[in-house]
């Protein structure tokens, strides 16, 4: 058995999963907002996942989409309109869970500060204790 790195084997993490979509295949998210959100996320020291384009992944039915929303903890997604993101995941075969643990922050309408604040907010206590 290979030596596993300690950071990569513990499977319970109460921190919200953060996902950032770059919308690289189109220019519908303002550059300034998506650049600032990425910069602030990197500066925050948080671990997070970033993808080139959720639409492209949805078109490929990328199984990573399922992994991203799997589990029982909160998931926060910086992308575009929540209605579009929710049904893109469904389109790919990975529907959002029925509860409200997946939150989408809309970089097409919110400011970078609002998006980052939402992404980095602590998980609700009940989620932490689960």
């Amino acid at each position: 058995m290979r030596d596993s790195h300690p950071d990569l084997i513990e499977l319970s993490d109460p921190a919200p999963k953060i996902l950032y979509c770059r919308c690289a295949f189109a220019q519908v998210v303002p550059d300034a907002v998506k650049d600032q959100v990425l910069e602030q996320l990197l500066e925050s020291g948080a671990s997070f996942e970033s993808v080139a384009d959720l639409c492209e992944m949805s078109a490929r039915n990328d199984p990573r989409l399922g992994e991203l929303i799997a589990g029982e903890g909160p998931v926060r997604i910086a992308a575009c309109f929540p209605r579009a993101v929710k049904w893109m995941f469904h389109h790919a075969g990975y529907p959002f869970p029925d509860d409200d643990r997946v939150e989408v922050l809309n970089m097409r309408e919110l400011s970078a500060e609002e998006v980052v604040k939402g992404l980095l907010a602590p998980a609700p206590p009940e989620k932490v204790n689960e």
Binding site: E10, D13, A52, E56, R60, E67
Partner: protein, 289 residues
């Protein structure tokens, strides 16, 4: 567009046993990788776990400024994984390394912003709104839509959709069809605002569409409302967009002129035509089963 592949995932490792990247380099590298189509998982010392990595079967490349021997990572079922120390590399060299290793690991990538590159353009159905009326199935001439085993409308053939044509969404009576890359709402997924326009007035009843004065009444409604909804939802625009796509296909040699000539491009489908096409499609689906 090819869809049956998984691009390599880059893991930017800044956790235990490594030094963090220099901030401007980290930002520059992240933007460059994402804009080339890569996904990145960034792991820091705040991380207590990476359950995503642990469960993923997608090829990945771990990059870090490691302070000791290169760590070896284990994943259940992981087909391919590579680890590289980037302590002595600048951003350009790291990008080059990622591209080389992506090839070495035999992975593919849809690259954005290349001349002639594919654009993710396809309809996304909001099933909270869809009533399964089949008007989209009947309206679209490119067989983008189909039905599943439960006779539920579905987007079956994404690749058949014509880039920048949102025509089907304009004729959906329930505003249930979105194109997330479209500029304006509600086609782009913006909430359908009940305060802006009463729901009943949003509906385009197909039988009234076929009435003689539908275009005049739509124009009147547009003049009265001037809402984003009435501007974006127009059978006139839908028909124009559908016709433009067909003409482009004819010019590219994909549709013979005689086939185009047989199509009725001047009107929306009748209720009977919608029913007939839905019945035909469901029968075809049943025969396949």
């Amino acid at each position: 567009m090819r869809t049956n592949f998984h691009p390599i995932q880059v893991i930017l490792y800044e956790g235990v046993g490594s030094e963090p990247l220099i901030a401007p380099d980290r930002l520059s590298l992240s933007i460059s990788l994402l804009d080339q189509g890569y996904s990145i998982l960034r792991i820091t010392q705040q991380a207590k776990s990476s359950h995503l990595l642990a469960s993923s079967e997608i090829p990945c490349l771990v990059l870090g400024r490691f302070t000791g021997p290169l760590p070896e990572f284990e994943r259940a079922g992981a087909p391919k994984i590579a680890t590289r120390d980037i302590a002595t590399l600048d951003v350009e060299a790291i990008l080059s390394l990622v591209n080389d290793l992506s090839e070495e690991l035999d992975t593919e990538l849809n690259r954005p912003n290349q001349p002639g590159s594919w654009k993710p353009w396809y309809p996304v159905i909001d099933y909270d709104r869809c009533t399964n009326c089949m008007q989209c199935l009947s309206f679209c001439l490119f067989d983008v839509y189909g039905v599943d085993e439960n006779k539920q409308i579905q987007v079956k053939n994404d690749d058949n959709c014509k880039t920048n044509c949102p025509a089907c969404s304009r004729v959906c009576p329930e505003v249930a069809i979105m194109f997330p890359k479209y500029a304006s709402g509600p086609i782009n997924g913006q909430p359908v605002n009940k305060d802006d326009v009463a729901r009943e007035s949003m509906k385009i009843d197909i039988s009234s569409l076929l009435g003689g004065d539908i275009y005049a009444s739509l124009r009147n409604r547009s003049d009265q409302a001037k809402s984003r909804f009435s501007k974006e939802r127009s059978p006139d625009k839908a028909l124009q967009e559908r016709k433009r796509c067909l003409v482009q296909l004819q010019q590219s040699g994909m549709i013979p002129a005689e086939v185009l000539a047989e199509l009725d491009l001047a009107s929306l489908p009748s209720p009977e035509a919608i029913e007939r096409k839905a019945r035909e499609f469901i029968a075809m689906q049943g025969a396949k089963e």
